[in-house]
């Protein structure tokens, strides 16, 4: 439908234009149908969040809450200080994101643009950390963090996850695409290592930064098991920990749980929405050459 005049392609015959239009509408219908399937679980979460607990499982199946209510949200906020949890999650995710992105960029830059003995080994070691199942090393990690006296502080969540192999991998692949000549020129102008990184490499890496921001914010915002064991004070709990309290020993409050689950997804969506334009470009230039 909209496929017509926007591309500057070679002129087509009328027949193939028509076929193109048919294809385009078929394509649009398929994409919309697929999107509806993708949305259904989320829609059902919304229905659940605004329903009355009892009405959900008894009586006929309804696709719209019979008496929409905010009671689920209300129960969640009365039971637990979710406002505080959101602040905690935000503080952790933002600081961790800033730190991780910086470290990722530094390492990616070095691995892509420097030559030194052991480079290959370092790269393989870093990539190999992707394969460590986190649940298995959690206890020794905890012992270390406890030994450092970090338990019950955000740093216990932030620092151990600050270096992050997938981000470094993306950065390296992306920066391989930055021409050496540009760096060479800066060097000849007398710029130091950090100066080149700051004023040459970073400005060229905006799409990459968009990717890293989206991914690391999401990782830290969603993390559950690790914050749960290092944060032992309700004042410091993150949102996912709060959610786990809504699935109690004696049954689950589905409206409250689904309501808070939906709310907890919003910040990640906002970050994605802000950066999504450069996201595809960033991915396009990393990892895939």
């Amino acid at each position: 439908m909209t496929a017509a005049p926007r591309t500057g392609r070679a002129p087509r015959t009328g027949r193939s234009l028509q076929a193109g239009a048919g294809w385009a509408s078929w394509r649009a219908v398929g994409l919309v149908a697929g999107a509806l399937v993708m949305l259904f679980p989320l829609y059902w979460m919304v229905v659940t969040a605004f329903s009355d607990q009892g009405a959900l499982t008894s009586g006929p199946l309804r696709f719209f809450p019979e008496n929409p209510t905010l009671d689920g949200f209300r129960r969640a906020f009365t039971l637990l200080p979710f406002g505080q949890f959101f602040l905690n999650s935000a503080a952790i995710a933002l600081v961790a994101m800033a730190l991780s992105v910086t470290l990722n960029l530094l390492a990616g830059y070095v691995l892509a643009k420097y030559r030194f003995r052991g480079q290959q080994v370092v790269f393989i070691m870093i990539v190999s950390t992707l394969m460590i199942p986190v649940q298995v090393v959690m206890v020794p990690q905890f012992q270390l963090v406890a030994g450092l006296g970090w338990i019950n502080s955000y740093w216990a969540v932030i620092i151990p996850r600050a270096a992050e192999a997938f981000g470094i991998f993306l950065c390296r692949q992306f920066m391989l695409g930055i021409p050496d000549e540009v760096l060479e020129a800066a060097r000849l102008d007398g710029a130091g290592h950090l100066r080149i990184f700051w004023s040459v490499v970073l400005p060229m890496s905006k799409p990459l930064i968009a990717v890293l921001v989206i991914l690391t914010f999401m990782y830290r915002w969603n993390e559950f098991a690790w914050p749960l064991i290092v944060l032992n004070d309700q004042q410091l709990f993150t949102v996912p920990i709060g959610l786990s309290f809504l699935q109690g020993e004696y049954g689950t409050d589905y409206p409250a749980l689904m309501g808070m689950a939906l709310l907890s997804t919003l910040p990640v969506l906002v970050v994605f929405a802000l950066f999504q334009r450069q996201f595809v470009e960033g991915v396009a230039r990393s990892g895939l050459r």
């Binding site: 989320l42 298995v136 206890v139």
Partner: protein
């Protein structure tokens, strides 16, 4: 180092040798300096715990109290442990089901989305949303939606006069629900990466193919898919690594059941470590899982390098 040559955009400029050599030592000092924060974090918070885990795998330990050195007993037990092999097979099956299907669907969506379309940004966001939701939330919602008795899917099926699917009580149903949910979450990411890959295919290739009379399908089969191969390899490896570490969703959705039908390597390690309190044995499962992934990835790495050599 062989991989370090960028796909040259400009013609290679001959580099004068002498000044470069002088810079090497200064450069490598700077390199290590710039890398050091990363290396410190990796070393302290990942490699040390990993070493501790390897060490623990030679002990019998509840996690607290006395531990006992048992040599390779944990490994001997592991190789004779049918649940472990079941978990390995399940994990492999899970990877085999989720990775190819999510790649095919994700590629299809990316192809459809690669041309101008009204509302493309919104559609892209919709497909991407499941990927950003936390595993715990997805699993809880999944348990609710796939509940065999009161879940919306089975209630829909029943109201259509069909039988409900045994999502919880049947091995196939349980693995099915797990795979469906996983695919739902992965599609968005695959789509974005393929979209990126598609953008790097030069338009001239497709136009040339079209003038040669290649149909839509032929262009896809003989031009697009081969050119996307690096993207595909990347996604496969990432998918396999993720599959071998799958935890949250299984732990909450099926708990490994029915029977051991959906027990995975990491859920089994967790159950042994924190339910049965056999931390030494759990460490052993973890170490072997790590090795499994390392071998698979090394195979990929070799293959990729062989391909680069071909280019």
């Amino acid at each position: 180092m062989t991989t370090a040559a960028p796909a040259a955009v400009t013609a290679p400029v001959p580099r004068p040798d002498p000044p470069r050599r002088r810079r090497v030592s200064r450069d490598s000092l700077a390199a290590w300096g710039l890398l050091s924060p990363n290396l410190l974090v990796f070393g302290v918070f990942l490699f040390l715990p990993l070493l501790a885990t390897v060490w623990l795998s030679f002990y019998s330990s509840s996690g607290f109290g006395p531990r006992e050195f048992v040599g390779a007993d944990n490994y001997t037990e592991l190789f004779g442990d049918s649940t472990f092999w079941r978990a390995t097979a399940n994990t492999g099956l899970y990877a085999l089901l989720t990775v190819p299907v999510s790649l095919v669907i994700g590629l299809g969506i990316a192809l459809a989305m690669n041309k101008p379309l009204r509302g493309r940004g919104v559609l892209r966001a919709i497909y991407y949303v499941p990927y950003v939701i936390s595993g715990v939330v997805i699993a809880v919602a999944g348990r609710w939606i796939f509940n065999e008795n009161v879940g919306v899917i089975n209630r829909l099926l029943r109201s259509a006069g069909l039988d409900g699917v045994p999502w919880q009580s049947d091995a196939v149903g349980a693995m099915g629900s797990l795979v469906l949910i996983s695919i739902w979450t992965k599609i968005g990411f695959v789509m974005v990466v393929y979209l990126a890959g598609l953008q790097s295919i030069p338009k001239e290739y497709l136009e040339a193919a079209q003038t040669d009379g290649a149909g839509r399908w032929q262009r896809l089969r003989y031009v697009v898919v081969p050119l996307l191969k690096p993207t595909t390899i990347f996604l496969v490896v990432l998918g396999v690594i993720e599959s071998f570490q799958v935890f949250d969703i299984v732990y909450v959705l099926t708990g490994g059941g029915p029977g051991n039908a959906t027990e995975m390597l990491v859920t089994y390690a967790y159950a042994e470590g924190f339910d049965a309190r056999r931390q030494g044995y759990a460490a052993t499962i973890g170490v072997v899982t790590y090795l499994f992934i390392a071998v698979l990835t090394a195979l990929w790495y070799r293959r990729q390098r062989a391909q680069e050599a071909d280019l």
